[in-house]
Symmetry: C3
Subunit: 342 residues, 3 copies
């Protein structure tokens, strides 16, 4: 009996399967410190217990993207070990903040399957839910990946393509209990711009850049217990280890502080594409576009829908070529909802 | 009076000397997070407070190898600053788990001395004990190193070579108080293979590889306050900084999750050889061989004796050449006892 | 309205301005662990809760330089984003230890302005104060930087050059409440040399060297939320990212353990010059000179004034050329007061 995990192949999935992902993880102030060391993260709510309390939370939570990375990392051995491509995200929602001392687990349900016409690969759709030690869901999201078949002769499953919302409705967003921005301290947060100061269609060049290093992205990716070989083993990819797409997301989000310091919490992930690979030595920059705005029921809290684009060169705001495809310098195109003081 | 520590030379040791190593160290969740960032560590008992409690422990301890590295690191200024080679380990036992908040100190007794026939070096044998803030021993182990003489004319000491067990007897192993694997959650741990599924003689290729970087091994080595120059100062070794042998141990052990996810706790170190030097850029892989199995008195807990081999290339299971010497690709040959659910 | 912070230019400052720096920061055991991973830090008071308690403190504080880096980092967006050069420090005092769980904020007052004769730049003098969550000052220091004018035609301000002490008087130093070295454990601290063993004029070569890596200095600099572009963006400095001067300070101070293990706490910063740039690949070494000694009112506690010099080559104790300028290998010349057991 082979003891190592070869991962699942396309024919190993069936719609309705529930995958319990392994290795629960307790997070602490250590994960927070590392997040600050790995990314230029400065959003005050995730930096200061005092600031978080002034916003109605019991303490400063872990960055919302730490929650995403930990929950996502657990799915890799069961979902994407034999993946050819990470195709998309939808309906991602942050449901409850994660605090030092919490323990996270992760579970996925297979919600769709579609074999490709080449017969060698297929698309697997999963809805993943992360929960804390009390069983409270902390986030859920849908993801679809292209997975290899082990046996090309294996029969194709019935095609099931789930209907996923292209954008979360503001009413779908879950505002953390107690969140209150009526006493928000803009000076401590770092910028004066409130929700009312942003207009739909407005674009922001976040100006700063970070040239990424091998040691950094590997430390980040391991921290989330993401074990995909391509990120670590140069003998598998002599052209350079592929940087985990989540590393680019966190870098771009941290860079977006400069212009979006008050977009404090991420509550919704509408869509995301890893447009081109990122390798060590690339200099990551970011720009944003305001896609929508909405009011919320929480005191002083507005929702803002943002496109966050990470690039490794080129000019800001230049997303697609004449052929409609992403420019080769574009690394990431992310569509998310954040919460901001009105 | 020179203020800096030149380290001890061979003639500075006498059998029976007790060396109190400096710099007590308090560990926290920060050390745990860094361990996860530096190594692809996924054993559930060291990742989750909840999982550890379900196994009868009060919380998730620091990885057993953190204990080893911290206790070992303190010995370097007194034992191996002038060492030519780290020759071996024996009779290593983990005696008590280490938790965040614990403070560790380290002490060694010189238990053997043997001058080499060249008159320029000699072998020093020490037994090192690490203790926590309550004075409770957390681990002990024997190590022998080849140390330079400062004055080749210094008289040779009487030769004392201690009798060390080639392998710890299962009865020598100390099972952490309260450890109970009867309710062990294999799904959360990541693999279904229990103690009964492993056979003596069985070999496991752990499949994954990690290409190591300078920044990573230096951060790891500093974290354990190990100050040996060869790991940090490129002007001392233009051919490349020598990677701390313990970094290879931790990397290989973490890689061995894939196939040995349920070999949760290390309780005995029978022997260990750093067969060849490891440098940044090397891709570390690992394989294991089941050497022995034993029952224990703890509920649901079996002991398994494993050979863990780390390589920087070559085929798995290829340990020695026709001359009986380690293949040049072999980095580490470690013999240890671990605890597993039966 | 531009949303990103372009930083202040020389003409944007007026004497008496109070700048409230953004992004409060809560520190934890995570920051301590990272400090130990990034620097070969071994001073026992900052390594062990038990040792700190034996010296009269409630627990082990964060390294004094962590306090400096966090307080300093917050000033960068408001003080030095458009700085051409960091010219000097004076009157730096550590006023209260910082413990895991504390939240730090930072504020600066403009205390001097002097336009340069070229009309393009000017010198800005600020006094910066860091405070914890109780409003207690944890440190203050003066710094002056050369800042670009945005509009060379902007009128020159009245010249105000503050009178700063070239050296803090021992009476100015604040000894942490409760500090008591009468029961100091020299064996655990790592060296036997007490305050009485050091003579004014004595020099110490700290012997060890560390070759620095890009990933390390960027992680360190981000950890303090210092956002100056030159440290991160290789496209801005193709000749190599400039390493944050504070990284060199921490590296040199940690290396000085070897010979100054008992210079436990830094309480005063008299002066500091970043003599030459440091780039990845440089090997940092350090030497010290005893500049002065003073008694204090605290039991068993003496003050020692030290010059700490970091180099990237050359011989120790070789500070300036015949022209009176720093040798090109000198990175740092720091003048500080530390506390030592008498």
């Amino acid at each position: 009996m082979a003891k190592t995990n070869a991962g699942r192949f396309f024919e190993d999935y069936a719609v309705g399967d529930v995958l319990t992902h392994a290795v629960p993880r307790t997070v602490s102030g250590g994960e927070r410190a590392l997040y600050h060391a790995l990314y230029p993260a400065r959003h005050a709510l995730f930096s200061s217990d005092e600031f978080a309390r002034s916003c109605g939370l019991p303490a400063s939570p872990l960055d919302d993207l730490v929650t995403f990375h930990v929950v996502f990392g657990k799915t890799v051995p069961d979902v994407s070990l034999n993946a050819v491509a990470n195709l998309g995200y939808a309906e991602g929602r942050w449901l409850h903040p994660v605090y030092p001392g919490d323990t996270l687990v992760s579970q996925s349900e297979v919600i769709g399957l579609k074999q490709n016409s080449n017969g060698k690969t297929g698309v697997v759709y999963v809805r993943t839910t992360g929960r804390n030690q009390h069983g409270t869901p902390v986030m859920d999201y849908c993801r679809w990946v292209m997975v290899r078949k082990k046996d090309p002769a294996a029969p194709a499953p019935d095609t099931v393509v789930p209907t996923l919302k292209p954008v979360l409705d503001p009413a779908d967003l879950v505002i953390p209990e107690g969140l209150d921005f009526t006493g928000y301290d803009f000076a401590q947060a770092g910028e004066p711009h409130r929700w009312g100061d942003y207009e739909v269609g407005e674009t922001i060049d976040h100006v700063d850049g970070v040239t990424v290093e091998e040691a950094e992205h590997m430390m980040a990716t391991r921290l989330w217990q993401n074990t995909a070989k391509v990120h670590f083993d140069l003998t598998q990819r002599p052209e350079g280890r592929l940087i985990y797409g989540g590393h680019v997301i966190s870098m771009a989000r941290a860079l977006s502080f400069n212009g979006l310091a008050n977009a404090q919490m991420i509550v919704g992930l509408n869509a995301g594409a890893h447009a081109n690979p990122c390798l060590a030595g690339d200099t990551i920059r970011a720009w944003s576009e305001v896609l929508d705005k909405a009011e919320t029921a929480a005191p002083g809290v507005g929702a803002i829908r943002l496109r966050l684009v990470a690039t490794k060169g080129g000019a800001p705001f230049d997303l697609r070529g004449e052929d409609g495809r992403y420019k080769p310098e574009v690394l990431l195109d992310l569509d998310y909802w954040a919460l901001m003081p009105i």
